[in-house]
C-alpha cells in the first residue's frame, strides 16, 4: 500500500522536523517534509504530491508561529511545479535530484517568506542568509535521505528501473 508508506514517511518527517531543532540547532536548516514532498513529486504522482505538500506545510505551520497555510501554499505549489517538470523532463538520474532539491528549497523559501511579508508577519531572521543555509542543508541531507526513501519505496523504484531498461532495449531493437 503506497499510501500507507507515504503517510508513515510523512508523519515521521514531520515529527523529526518538530523535534530536531531542540537536539541541535543547525538541524532546523534541513527541511525533511520538503524532501519527502520533492521525492513524491519526482515519482510523478500528482495527487499524492499535492496532498503531501499541503499536509506537511499545514502541520509545520500549526506547530510554528508561522501563518497557518503559508507553508501549505508553498509546498503544494513546489510539489506541483516539480511534478510538472518531472512529467516532461527525465529527472530519474539521482544526480538530477541535487538541482531539483536546491530549486525546490529556494522556491519554497521565497513563496513562504513572500506570503508572510505580504500579510504583515515578517520572519525575524535575515532572509538571504537563512535561505542559503537552508539550501545547503536541505540539498545535502535531501540527496542522502532520498536514497533511504528509495529503499522504502523499493518495489516502485524497481518497477520503474525495469521499465526504463525495457525502453532502452526497445530503442536498441528499433535501431
Amino acid at each position: 500500500m503506497p499510501q500507507l508508506k507515504i503517510a508513515a514517511v510523512l508523519a515521521l518527517a514531520i515529527l523529526l522536523q518538530l523535534s530536531l531543532r531542540a537536539v541541535w540547532y543547525p538541524l532546523a536548516y534541513i527541511d525533511l517534509p520538503l524532501i519527502v514532498v520533492v521525492y513524491i513529486a519526482l515519482q510523478r504522482h500528482a495527487w499524492h504530491a499535492l496532498i503531501v505538500g499541503t499536509i506537511a506545510g499545514l502541520a509545520i505551520d500549526a506547530a510554528s508561529r508561522a501563518l497557518i497555510g503559508a507553508g501549505g501554499f508553498s509546498k503544494t505549489l513546489t510539489a506541483y511545479l516539480i511534478y510538472f517538470v518531472a512529467t516532461r523532463v527525465n529527472l530519474e538520474n539521482p544526480l538530477m535530484r541535487i538541482p531539483v532539491l536546491a530549486t525546490a528549497t529556494l522556491l519554497d523559501s521565497a513563496i513562504y517568506v513572500f506570503w508572510h511579508r505580504a500579510l504583515g508577519n515578517s520572519p525575524n531572521v535575515p532572509f538571504v542568509q537563512t535561505m542559503s543555509y537552508r539550501l545547503i542543508g536541505t540539498t545535502i541531507a535531501g540527496t542522502l535521505v532520498m536514497f533511504l526513501l528509495d529503499s522504502v519505496f523499493t518495489e516502485r523504484a524497481r518497477t520503474r528501473r525495469s521499465f526504463a531498461s525495457r525502453r532502452k532495449g526497445a530503442r536498441r531493437g528499433a535501431r
Binding site: 531543532r21 500528482a46 506570503w115
Partner: protein, 300 residues
Amino acid sequence: MAATRTQREIRQRAPVWLVLLLLINLGVMAFDARDSSGKQRMFRVWVQAIASPAQNVFAKVSGAGSGVIGQIVNFRQTAAENEVLKQKLATTEAALSNARLAASENERLKGLLSLKEQTGYDQVPARVIARDPSIWFNTVTIDRGSSSGIELNMPVVTSGGIVGRVIALSPWSAQVMMVTDEKAAAGAIVGQLGGSGALGSVRGSGESGLIEMRYVSGLQKVDIGDYILTTGQDSIYPPGLRVGEVVYVKHGTATQSHEILIRPGAKLDQLEEVAVLLYHPPQRTAPEQTLPNVDKSNKQ
C-alpha cells in the same frame, strides 16, 4: 488502456486540484493573518497536543545522548595513557560533569524559586522541549500547558528576566513567543519604577537578538548599562520584572526620542528551564464611548 486513461485524467485534473488546494491554503492563511484578537486556532492545539509527547521524548533522548557522546570523547582522549588512569579519569570527569550540571541546574531552579518571592505571583516551572520547527521564527515549546493552569498571554520568565508570553496552548504543552520577536512588545521603564520618567515600550529588533526600546523622551537621562523593567501597562507582564540592560543609546533631543537597544536579561539562546507566571492583569474598565451631550437615560 484504462490505466493510461486514468494517468491522463490525473494529469489533466492536477491543475484543478492545485488551484483548489492553493485557494484553501490562501483562505486559511488570510483568516489566520486577519485575526489579531490573540485567540488561538483549534488546529494548532491539536497539532501541538499530538507533537508534544514526541518532542518530550526527543528532548530526553538528546540530553542522554549528549552525555554519552561526552563520555566517549573523554574516553578517546585518555586512551593514549594507561588503562587505569583512563578509567579513573573518565569516572572522575563524568562525576564532575554531572556535579557541574547538577549545580548549574540547582542554581537555575533556585533562581526560579526566588522569582516567586520577588514577584509574589504563583508560577509553573517548565522545561523547554522544542524550538520552532520553522527556521524563520524563534518560538520555544515548553512541557506545561492548560492542564497546569497556564493560559494564553501569560508571561514566561527566568531568574534573568522576561522570556516572552504564551501564544498557543495544548493540554500538555505551550508555545512561547520570545520578547526578541518583532511582534512581541511590552511596556518598560529605564531604572526603578517611580524613580524614573523614562517610560517607553520594548519590542524585538529582529535579527540581532537585541530588544529595541522606543518612545523614551529625549529629555530623560539614559546611559549604557542602565537596566530596564516592565511597567505592567501592557496587560501581559506584571510591573517590576527585569527586561535587560541598555547596550546602545543614540541620544535624542527635546523633540526626538532616544534610540535604545537592550540585551535581554534572560539567556534566550540557552533556555532550559523557565517559569510561567500565573498572572492575571487587572481588569480595565472600557472607556466611555458615548458623547457627553447624549442623554444616557434614553438608551435604557
